[in-house]
Amino acid sequence: MTRPVAERREVLAAEDNEMHRLVLGRVMRDALAAGAPVLRFVRNGRELLDRPGDAPRPDIVLLDLHMPVLSGFEALPMIRADARLRPLPVVVMSSSTEARHVDAAYREGANSYLVKEGDYRRVLAQTGRLAEFWFGTVLLPSGRAR
């Protein structure tokens, strides 16, 4: 993490559940402390697609598969069909380990598929690795700072 604090990363999470948002926030803080990204939320896939053009552009999207209105499976192909959203890395978060869910997520354009860990220590470790990979290891598409 060599970036200044002023250039904090941004994560957009599509998540309908209030509790879940709470958990995500807490986990990010505990796992990444000062390196924690800015966490913004939309409630479902529809809200993600309908975000206004001048809304802050995230570095990555965390997508829950099971959401009302527009589920992750429904939102993925639409994200990939949207010129503005297409370059965004999408990380699917799910508690399902079933092959058919994993296969479908990748088929529809997910960049990675994350199975939610239960044990708190492991959740923190997983979140650390996630941040390390997307923010410390790979290059992300340019253009956030238009």
Partner: protein, 747 residues
């Protein structure tokens, strides 16, 4: 006198003679019998272009009457009464129109009163026919009636068999010496060759008033077609035939049923020539029609009776087959005897690609009977009373060798229907009745084989009528009794009932399948929703309890409580995962692909490595000899996981756990894998129950009893979904052995 079976002398020579006899153009006789005259007329102009030798000239009035009838322009025959000739005679004319030439035949008119008498006698005969209730009775009535009407010495009802040989079904004879009985005799098919039979369609009455009278040639147009002419001269072969029988005059009247020539009313006169007038001939023809009509009625009654008799069998079939849960075999078993009895058969079977049901002594059946039937059948049925000589015999089916001579088969379900249901090959379902040999004697009117004329060596001998009509007995072998109309009706009733019952059965099965599919889909949907809705809050509880525990690090008691919440949530989440796996087990949403079972078992072992080490156990995997198997890898991996997990769970505390996984390809080509442990073992009585869902082995010494008890149920569902199987058995000393079987599908 007994003789060897027929057709043995049926050498090529005889066959050729038969063929040549059948080719004789008897309709182009070029001559007429002398009891009348024939004129050949141009069909367009009416000009006379030929006449029988010695025919007198027609008067001008006769010409005018003729022209008027011809001008009507219709085809067919017309009777013209009172045609006069220049010699002063008056005639009854019959004008045959149509074709290349019109024919006018002149015959001597009936004496006055002949018409009334013919009508009276016809009425009496038809009254008697109406009272006869069986085929033999009706035929006897017709024969007697016709003899009274015509005065012939012998009148027979001559019935064509399927091979066109003729059987005498009834006979009426003048009580005179020398008029022998032909009753019960059989006449070979060559006695009435095909072209003669064909002429009966055109001309329903064949009259020979005097076989000894010399024919009169047609002059001017000797090649004219005389097929329609009542006066047509008789073929020399036929004249010899009649002479050999001692017959001087004859008349034959066609009995047709539908399109088929069913038989003849055959009249013989031995005492001398016998003229038969137009009215008597018309009456004879009407009597033949009435007989055909009555025979059809009698048969219809027999058929109706058979339907009544077998109606309750049809009901029983519907009832027994109605429950799709019962196999066809179980359902039909109590009806076997009655099913056979329907066609007087020794054996009954239902057969498609394989044998579905059998009743009675069916013995060893040839393979692919269904395919041979499909090829041989006309419409939806096949019948033969001489199976060895039929298309089935020709197809190489060894039915005759198995002792079967007669077969009656009906197609019950077309293969396409079952193929549409995805039940594999399109193979028809047949109901088949098998009949044994009916060994009997046929009494031929003379030796039917000795009909070749003596001919110089090297020349083709001609077929000549036999000289002796003395009874010649033949023992018929290799033949079953033909199906009687009532039996055929019963076969139809049973076939219809089977079709109906099986259709309803198929509908019921389809309905059940559809309901099951819908219910499965609903359960699947429910499981998905429930699993997700349970997982998420549990995850939240688990993670937040973990966060809380971290926060409470300085406070031991609340921290301990938080960790209890955390681990309870974790355990519950494990159960939900198990439930999800069970719901998905055996269904392949993901792609199947060739996978190495050794690798999958290795991955499973890695997943459980921590628990295995903690238990102090060891694991040996020897699956390298196995081919790659087409499967859904994640599900197959779970099978290994669950088996290993089970072994760890039910290990002995007094013995280091040892798990061995071994695999080989069995003689049947299937992969076999043995997963053996030295744990607590399963009692022999429990080896099947452990695969039931939610069944946990309540072993008092079990170390960990976690989860829902779905592990082995998942294994079984996964393997059955792959066309394989899994069974458990106790090992001789300690522990359990699971045996997995998997088909090797070509990749």
């Amino acid at each position: 006198m007994k003789a060897s079976p027929r057709n043995i002398p049926g050498s090529a020579v005889l066959d050729r003679a038969l063929l040549e006899c059948a080719r004789e153009p008897i309709h182009l006789a070029g001559a007429i019998q002398p009891n009348g005259h024939v004129f050949v007329l141009d069909p367009a102009t009416g000009a006379i272009r030929g006449r029988s030798a010695g025919a007198p000239a027609l008067t001008a009035a006769a010409h005018a009457a003729l022209a008027a009838r011809q001008a009507e322009g219709r085809e067919g025959s017309a009777v013209i009464d009172g045609l006069a000739t220049e010699d002063g005679a008056t005639w009854v004319g019959t004008l045959h129109r149509g074709g290349d030439a019109a024919l006018l035949e002149l015959e001597t008119p009936d004496p006055a009163g002949a018409g009334g008498r013919a009508l009276d006698l016809l009425g009496e005969a038809i009254d008697a026919l109406a009272l006869s209730t069986d085929v033999a009775g009706a035929c006897a009535v017709a024969a007697a009636g016709l003899r009274t009407m015509t005065g012939f010495d012998r009148v027979m009802v001559y019935r064509f068999e399927p091979d066109w040989s003729g059987a005498v079904a009834a006979e009426s004879r003048a009580p005179r010496d020398g008029v022998d009985s032909f009753e019960g005799l059989r006449f070979p098919a060559s006695d009435i060759p095909p072209q003669a039979r064909e002429l009966y369609r055109l001309n329903r009455v064949r009259l020979i008033p005097d076989a000894a009278a010399p024919p009169v040639p047609i002059e001017g147009d000797p090649g004219v077609d005389l097929g329609r002419a009542i006066l047509r001269a008789v073929s020399p072969v036929h004249l010899t035939y009649l002479a050999n029988m001692g017959v001087r005059a004859s008349m034959s009247v066609a009995i047709t049923r539908g399109e088929r020539l069913w038989g003849l009313l055959a009249c013989h006169h031995q005492a001398g020539p016998l003229a038969t007038g137009q009215r008597a001939r018309q009456a004879a023809e009407t009597l033949a029609r009435a007989l055909a009509w009555r025979l059809a009625e009698i048969e219809a009654t027999e058929v109706a009776n058979a339907r009544d008799r077998f109606g309750d069998l049809a009901e029983a079939l519907a009832t027994e087959l109605g429950d799709p849960e019962r196999s066809i075999e179980t359902a039909l078993a109590p009806l076997g005897v009655r099913l056979r009895a329907a066609a007087g058969a020794a054996g009954f079977l239902l057969v498609d690609g394989s044998l579905r049901f059998r009743a009675g002594e069916t013995g060893r059946l040839p393979a692919s009977l269904d395919a041979a039937l499909a090829a041989a059948a006309t419409g939806d049925g096949f019948e033969s009373d001489r199976v060895g000589d039929s298309a089935l015999g020709a197809a190489g089916l060894a039915l005759a060798e198995a002792g079967w001579c007669g077969i009656a088969a009906r197609r019950i379900v077309r293969g396409a229907a079952s193929a549409e249901n995805g039940e594999g090959e399109a193979s028809d379902l047949w109901a088949v009745w098998l009949r044994r040999e009916f060994r009997h004697e046929v009494v031929w009117a003379g030796n039917p084989d000795k009909t070749l004329a003596e001919a110089p060596p090297g020349t083709q001998p001609a077929l000549t009528p036999r000289r002796s009509f003395a009874a010649w007995r033949e023992e018929v072998r290799g033949r079953a009794a033909g199906l009687r109309p009532a039996e055929r009706a019963a076969v139809g009733v049973v076939a219809d009932a089977l079709r109906h019952a099986l259709l309803r059965r198929a509908q019921a099965t389809a309905r059940t399948n559809r309901e099951l599919r819908e219910r499965n889909a609903a359960i699947r949907f429910f499981a998905d929703a429930a699993v997700h809705d349970l997982r998420e809050p549990l995850w939240q509880i688990q993670v937040l309890a973990g966060a809380l525990r971290e926060d409470l690090e300085g406070a031991p008691e609340p921290g301990r409580l938080a960790s209890v919440i955390e681990s309870s949530a974790a355990r519950m989440r494990g159960m939900v995962d198990e439930l999800a796996a069970f719901a998905a087990a055996g269904e392949f949403a993901g792609a199947v692909s060739p996978a190495s079972l050794a690798s999958l078992a290795g991955e499973a072992a890695l997943d459980l490595d921590t628990r295995l080490r903690a238990s102090g156990g060891t694991l040996a995997i020897r699956l390298d000899a196995l081919p790659r198997v087409v499967c859904e890898a994640s599900q197959m991996r779970r099978v290994f996981q669950n088996l290993l997990s089970n072994a760890i769970k039910y290990r002995r505390s007094d013995l280091p756990l040892r798990i061995e996984i071994e695999g080989f390809v069995a003689a049947d080509g299937r992969v076999r894998i043995i997963v053996a442990d030295n744990g607590l073992g399963i009692p022999a009585a429990e080896v099947e129950r452990v695969f039931e869902p939610f069944r946990k082995l309540a072993h008092p010494q079990a170390i960990e009893v976690d989860g829902l008890g779905l592990g082995l149920a998942i294994c079984r569902r996964v393997l059955e979904g792959h066309g394989g199987a899994i069974v458990a058995r106790p090992r001789a000393v300690h522990g359990t052995e699971f045996e997995i079987t998997l088909p090797v599908v070509a990749a």
